[in-house]
Amino acid sequence: MAFNKEPLNKEPLDTEFLRYPHRRRGMDHSRYQWSQLHERAPVKWPDGKRLALWVNICVQFFPLNQRGKPFPAPGGMTMPYPDLRHFSLRDYGNRVGIFRLLDACDRFRVKPSFAVNAAVCARAPALIHALRERDCEFVAHGWDMDSLHHGGLAREQEAELIERSLDSLRDATGATVRGWLSPARNESPRTPDLLAGQGVEWFADWVNDDMPYRFHTEGGDLWAMPLSNELEDRFILMQNLHSVESWKQQVCDAGDFLLAEAEASGGGRILSLNLHPWLMGQPHRIARLEAALGHITAKPGVWPALPGEILACCGS
């Protein structure tokens, strides 16, 4: 944005600026149907449960030689090379922090999904092995946090990146891997089309709903899964610099609200928590995660669920 500058435009602006080719009913693109959440038929969870609690743990690799194309991922390197402080602090999450998160989840009987940068499979096979032992769901999370999906990639380049990420994760985990979360939640205009062509059934990059919805691609529909960005630890703690006590408060408020809305609607809602072991796994923060999980799971009607279990209730 230009401040205190003469507007760059020479008046008048090009007539294109007063033309509105997509000004019509519905969206200004054809990726999904317009609809309001409260007008849709209620979605029911098993056993009359009201609130699905989906915890997703990101397992990430931030390369030291970051290229930052088209921008450095949030959480990426910020100092001149070699930025060992951030590199090693991110690694802390995979070595130490994640085990605190696993203990917290176990304590409150929450089964998390793991969104894994495929590069971690070769870097920390012992971690992948430990996660495989659990009843969980693996979600593809691209190659690493410096391999963003963006419009500057040729279609073949991006297709290869997706294939390599999925193949590596499927090989290392033995899992089918049906879900996808783009690094930095960034996409090219083609990402959903390419995902659908490689056996992906759902993705969680878009944050425009609190319930799953059908997302159209060249290769058939995907499910768009709601994974809140505004409630995740990175957004609240690192971007907004809120206290971890406030993060806990916000998560509890969200859970209480969604549970009440679910009851009023006669259907179900989803509380999705996206967590980063390099943040929430710190000794000074982990108690607030435990407090939040304790608050939510103590409520009747809460169903800790994996994304695949949630989608199994959503029809087709």
Partner: protein, 308 residues
């Protein structure tokens, strides 16, 4: 560029003609939900990029869509619970994209005022003809879909030209939300001499400013709203004040933020002496009862200061 567009004169807060709102109220309270449409791929204005990330900026786009798909109905229900009719700052194209939202607001007798066509189309660089066309297009579209000719204007994405107020007043508007110089309505000078005023809309109370620019914790935002109210309510005993909460369905209606907002609404509307109104109602009441006295007081004080 000019140092000052001379839209209003200096007018000290003290010793103004006393305002008393209807029913003897000391504070006029209004909530202005911004109901906006941001385009995924708009033409790029040379002065301002629509999105921080390269196309497609799905994060920015999709959270705003969340406001319409999920957040709007929540806020509408919440405001109704506290007897508040929203004054909608409306991207006119939303009437065409999402008419259900507009119909639902109209059923609750909400007000609609103009917020341009899209929040991704800025005023910067428009010629006078082009800006007039955009302003009239927005007003006509809103009138066609709601039956209301917009009385107020908040320029799209708060993007202005030197002529914005003049053109909106010439189009029949009576109030602007674009100026943040006062806690009471004030006359605004326009080239056509129309009776045109500013009513307090507030950047400080705006949820997007609070959450995105100031990165506030939700509970702190709720406390700020109550603190702001307490002071304006106390001062309103001397002369009536205005408090606005400008909201966005993709901010305040997120599940982790609604409770803090609700606590503030409950607190504010729980006071006697609060006139829960819309922007148009406040503007009309001021124009009818206080505008001319305000102009006279401004003139008198200016002349006294200059020793005339």
């Amino acid at each position: 560029m000019k140092a000052d567009l001379q839209l209003y004169d200096y007018w000290p807060y003290r010793d103004r003609p006393r305002i008393v709102w209807p029913g003897g109220a000391r504070l006029a309270f209004w909530v202005a939900p911004n109901i906006e449409f941001y385009e995924l791929d708009p033409p790029t204005n040379p002065s301002r990029k629509p999105w921080p990330r390269p196309y497609p900026d799905i994060g920015g786009y999709s959270i705003r869509d969340y406001g319409n798909r999920v957040g709007h109905e929540r806020q509408m229900r919440l405001l109704a619970r506290y007897g508040i009719r929203g004054s909608v700052s409306l991207s006119a194209a939303l009437c065409e994209h999402h008419p259900e939202i507009i119909e639902a607001c109209a059923e609750l007798d909400w007000e609609f005022f103009s917020h341009g066509i899209y929040n991704t189309r800025y005023t910067y660089g428009l010629s006078e003809e082009q800006e007039r066309e955009m302003i009239l297009d927005a007003m006509d579209t809103i009138e066609k879909h709601t039956g209301q000719r917009p009385a107020g204007y908040l320029a799209p994405a708060l993007s202005h030209s030197e002529r914005t107020m003049d053109l909106f007043a010439e189009a029949g508007g009576i109030y602007t939300c674009d100026l943040f110089h006062d806690d009471q309505p004030t006359p605004v000078r326009v080239r056509g001499g129309q009776r045109f005023i500013s009513i307090p809309y507030s950047l400080e109370m705006n949820d997007t400013i609070a959450y995105v620019v100031n990165r506030m914790e939700p509970r702190a935002y709720g406390e700020m709203l109550r603190d702001n109210f307490d002071r304006l309510y106390a001062e309103g005993e001397t002369s009536g004040t205005v408090m606005c909460i400008p909201t966005h369905n993709y901010q305040v209606s997120c599940p982790h933020r609604l409770r803090a907002f609700e606590q503030a609404l409950e607190y504010i509307t729980g006071h006697d002496g609060v006139w829960v109104a819309t922007g148009r109602e406040i503007a009309n009441y001021f124009l009818e009862h206080y505008h001319d006295a305000a102009l006279e007081d401004i003139r008198r004080k200016r002349e006294a200061a200059h020793g005339i």
